[in-house]
């Protein structure tokens, strides 16, 4: 086991990793930017090192400074969390060449699954269904039209280097395809420096269902079942849950097996997520792999009883998984709400600022993962996630009731948060009847 680990991240996930390390008896080195100086969670680390000024590009994304911090902090490994450098294969490569463990998959695997286009090729190789679409990047507008006609409209243009919903456009016919092509390429170039676009059939009212996978360095790969993340707004997840309601058991089984097959083909180890889209006829299609721990990992932890962050650390230290697929028996229903510092009443305007008072909810089946404390100021430079509220109960209905109860108990004063939106979703009939798809929230908000 490692003696010391550096956490190359901030906020709630940094706290999550620090907690796992403390339980494993591993010392921690936290890093922080000047905007995060004084954040209370840093005191829980054994050492904290400033790596730059507020902008992420000047601090958390500075590979040289993160590695220097790892060296002066005398660590054996780095946990990258999610976002920032977590899916940066070059960073993983630098770690390796500096003889510092990277808590995640190998750089080669990260490259193979990180590029959306190459991931699709990997899925085809593993016999995992993909959304009908172009076999690779589309060279130009003319080719786009040809392909679109083959696979059938409506089509979705997607940036190969994309994420967070950027560089995506829907085109319903030949005519709108031209402008969709221009816009998607331009947005992709601006956001990711890579204008590469591929095309897929656009699935109407899809459900977003993802499979959590976990592999060790000894060839064992298991799945921890699925999470349904259909409750999104503008491609940003709001609420995640497990199991996916209304997913036929046979489809669930096939998706989980497909995810493991894909992971094996990629030589994957550590934690990862295989994302699928499920259409209204329960056909599922591979979308992408997230080669890191995800924000919503607690949902799977509650349902399976497995601590995913500790598992990642153990796996990176070379330990065997210690359990087999048949040992992973899901129990009950878990739901997570992402509490963001945004004002739903003002078009989700970000609301950084000082939290004058925070009262965390508690009770049976309630978990609140948050780095925020009374007096903590949410900085404007990073994501707006203040905390994750997770509940776990024997049934979905009970989980919904507990979540409503916990959301009402949660008090965050001084800033606006998305709590009112969560309450609105949880009161909605379509949500209760599990009739959600990824368009649900926006339709609900439109009235």
């Amino acid at each position: 086991m490692f003696k010391r680990i550096l956490i190359a991240n901030r906020g709630e996930i940094a706290l999550r990793i620090i907690r796992a390390c403390r339980e494993l008896g591993v010392e921690t080195v936290a890093i922080f930017s000047e905007a995060d100086r004084g954040a209370p969670y840093l005191e829980l680390a054994d050492q904290a090192i400033c790596v730059g000024s507020a902008r992420a590009a000047d601090s958390y994304l500075r590979i040289d400074r993160v590695i220097s911090a790892a060296e002066i902090g005398n660590v054996q490994a780095i946990h990258p969390g999610y976002g920032f450098l977590s899916e940066n294969a070059h960073f993983a490569e630098v770690c390796r060449s500096c003889d510092i463990g990277f808590i995640g998959p190998t750089p080669e695997t990260m490259e193979r699954v990180g590029d959306k286009n190459s991931a699709r090729a990997l899925a085809r190789e593993a016999g995992v269904p993909t959304v009908p679409g172009s076999n690779g990047l589309v060279a130009n507008e003319q080719e786009a039209v040809t392909i679109a006609r083959e696979i059938g409209f409506p089509v979705l243009l997607k940036a190969t280097a994309g994420g967070g919903g950027k560089g995506m456009r829907v085109a319903a016919n030949d005519l709108s395809l031209a402008s969709a092509w221009q816009q998607a390429s331009a947005e992709a170039q601006a956001a990711f420096g890579n204008a590469g676009i591929y095309i897929e059939r656009y699935i109407e009212r899809p459900r977003h269902v993802e499979i959590q996978i976990l592999g060790d360095q000894h060839g064992t790969i298991v799945h921890l079942w699925e999470r349904d993340c259909s409750t999104q707004r503008r491609h940003q997840k709001l609420i995640e849950e497990s199991p996916s309601p209304r997913l036929p058991p046979e489809i669930r089984r096939k998706m989980c097996e497909a995810a493991v097959r894909l992971a094996k083909t990629a030589g994957y180890y550590s934690a990862g997520t295989v994302e699928f889209i499920v259409d209204q006829q329960d056909n599922f299609y591979f979308i992408e792999v997230n080669a890191r721990i995800q924000v919503e990992h607690p949902v799977s932890e509650m349902v399976t009883g497995i601590d995913l962050v500790k598992a990642q650390i153990r796996i990176a230290a070379g330990e065997k998984l210690g359990f087999k697929q048949q040992d992973i028996v899901p129990r009950g229903h878990a739901i997570e709400c992402r509490i963001n510092a945004e004002d739903p009443a003002s078009n989700f305007r970000p609301c950084p600022g000082r939290i004058d008072r925070i009262i965390s909810p508690g009770g049976y089946g309630v978990r609140f993962d948050s780095h925020a404390t009374t007096g903590y100021t949410v900085p404007p430079h990073y994501d707006s996630l203040v905390g994750k509220l997770i509940v776990h109960q024997p049934t979905r209905q009970e989980a919904i009731q507990t979540m409503i109860r916990a959301l009402r108990e949660l008090r965050i004063e001084g800033i606006k948060t998305t709590v009112p939106l969560h309450l609105e979703v949880l009161a909605n009939t379509a949500f209760h009847e599990a009739q959600m798809d990824t368009t649900f929230v926006e339709r609900m908000l439109a009235g």
Binding site: I49, G52, I67, S68
Partner: protein, 157 residues
């Protein structure tokens, strides 16, 4: 400390001062003491962050490389040369070389005041300011973080 003198109250100020004195005498850069669920760790030079303990003890101030000078009343006019990177601070270009600057030296903005080694690269750090060196705040060979004050300069001297 004698064996009879058990660690007792780890956070007794007198005891902490004594530990720091011992560290200087024996040129120790770091000590780490644990008893039950109390712990104190003292490192000379560089930024110190409080470690875990049953009592919330004040963090031991990092011992300055130069003898601590009574702060002049006009401290607010002092300039600080801060570290632009994360790495290890060196006062000279090699173990047998003369230090770049010492207290009392007059320097200009182009003057190299120290080296910070990061990822095996030795970076010469220019002063960026003019004046007289009042204090060197970091021990030779100590780790430094971004923004950490390295050298105090009096611009009016």
């Amino acid at each position: 400390m004698s064996a009879a003198e058990n660690l007792g109250d780890l956070f007794n100020a007198k005891r902490v001062r004594r530990l720091i004195k011992l560290m200087k005498e024996h040129d120790l850069s770091e000590i780490d003491l644990k008893q039950a669920d109390q712990r104190v760790r003292i490192r000379r030079g560089g930024e110190f962050v409080a470690s875990s303990g049953a009592l919330s003890a004040p963090a031991a101030r990092s011992a300055a490389a130069e003898p601590s000078v009574r702060e002049p009343v006009a401290d607010s006019r002092m300039l600080l040369i801060k570290s632009p990177m994360v790495g290890t601070f060196y006062r000279a270009s090699g173990p047998d070389s003369a230090v770049f600057v010492k207290v009392g030296d007059r320097i200009g903005p182009e003057k190299t005041v120290c080296i910070i080694e990061a990822m095996k690269v030795f970076n010469e750090i220019p002063a960026g300011v003019s004046g007289q060196v009042v204090a060197v705040l970091v021990e030779n060979g100590a780790p430094v973080e971004f923004g950490q004050p390295l050298i105090k300069v009096d611009p009016e001297a």
